[in-house]
């Protein structure tokens, strides 16, 4: 089969791969790059477990062909920490127990990061809207919501 050559940035590092055109971004991340922090839930763009950032905005990586990221920049959960230090959003989810089984967590954290990058002081409604595409089947969302609020506060201290 004919393959496509891609050059892109993944978590700040330049990468080149050759892939068949039907590879999704999620498959590229998990199967080719071994970045398995991004999860496959429904595979149909409904659950948000596979959420990553593409050029700074959230996408469902299960519904983006890998071919579409040529020349662009992808951020996954693996790219958030700096050295040994977790990203403030990650730390807030630990401190507030904003997860249970953890399957949806990387997607939720990426949606949270995208929200706070664009809007450091979100209203309650803006938080709910930003997480509308991320399903959690464990927590009932309250702890997740509180984690986002704590992350916004934590980032305030960093600024």
């Amino acid at each position: 089969m004919k393959t496509i050559d891609l050059r892109f940035t993944i978590n700040g590092a330049k990468e080149r791969v050759s892939i068949p055109p039907h590879r999704t971004l999620l498959e590229l991340l998990r199967d080719d790059l071994q970045l398995i922090g991004t999860k496959e839930g429904c595979g149909h763009g409904e659950c948000g477990a596979c959420t990553v950032m593409l050029d700074g905005v959230t996408v469902n990586s299960c519904l983006v062909l890998a071919a579409e990221i040529d020349g662009r920049s992808v951020t996954t959960i693996e790219g958030l920490r700096s050295g040994d230090k977790l990203h403030p959003v990650q730390q807030a989810f630990i401190d507030e127990s904003g997860y249970q089984c953890g399957f949806c967590t990387s997607g939720v954290i990426l949606s949270t990061k995208a929200l706070l990058d664009a809007n450091p002081h979100p209203s309650d409604d803006e938080i709910r809207q930003a997480l509308a595409g991320n399903f959690c089947r464990c927590t009932g969302y309250t702890k997740i919501f509180e984690s986002v609020q704590a992350a916004a506060k934590g980032l305030e201290g960093d600024r």
Binding site: K2, H44, N60, E68, Q129, G133
Partner: protein
Amino acid sequence: MYPFKFHRPATVRQAAGLLGRLEDAKLLAGGHTLLPVMKQRLASPAHLVDLSRIEGLAGIEAKGRSLAVGAMTTHAEVADSGVVRAAIPALADLAGQIGDPAVRHRGTLGGSLANNDPTADYPAACLALDATIVTSKRRIKADDFFQGLFQTALEPDEIIVRVLFPIPKKAAYVKFRNQASRYALVGVFVARRPSEVRVAVTGAGTDGVFRMAAFEQALKARFAPKSLDGLTVPAEGLSSDIHASADYRAHLIGVLARRVVEAANKAV
């Protein structure tokens, strides 16, 4: 995902040529309907023609008395556009209510119209605003474009390039959404234009989006929720499924039509 041959034309003309020449080819825009459908094997096209490398298909521009939105413009771009917000705020509101953020970052205007899902939002805006769909071949009025469930006037090798929305005096969109999918259980778009009022309903019809002539006439006489008093909506021809019965959808059309007129009056 299942294999297909992948094509990346640089111009609309090349893309249309590929569509005409290749057996069993589909256009790829945002992929948020096509890729799930392919994963379910409800479609297995031999060729995908990717529109993402074609210059000039995305973008928003106010042109005199209308707003031009490129076919590859995403829902997020429409929702966040100051130009759209200034010209037709109802259109920005509508785009901001489609799906969730990740969906809005990929889904496109052209993709939504070409698919003509009976519960999609954009078809209601096009029909109520009397939009013109500009394709690789011609201009199609919204009244002629939507032709039934997932059916449009598009020919097999025809590609939507942009949509021209005439700027109304007043407009609003209100939807009652399915809580899980965020598709419209019923959505009503109203536009008060210099010469007419148009009311378009999505989510409810078994043949997709449609206009409510009786409501339009009543609202033309007086553009107020009260003008709709005494008007009922027949359940015939409306969809019935696990989410809502035809009777309930008929009731919702009346309720939402009153709310949308109120919202349009408040918006100005």
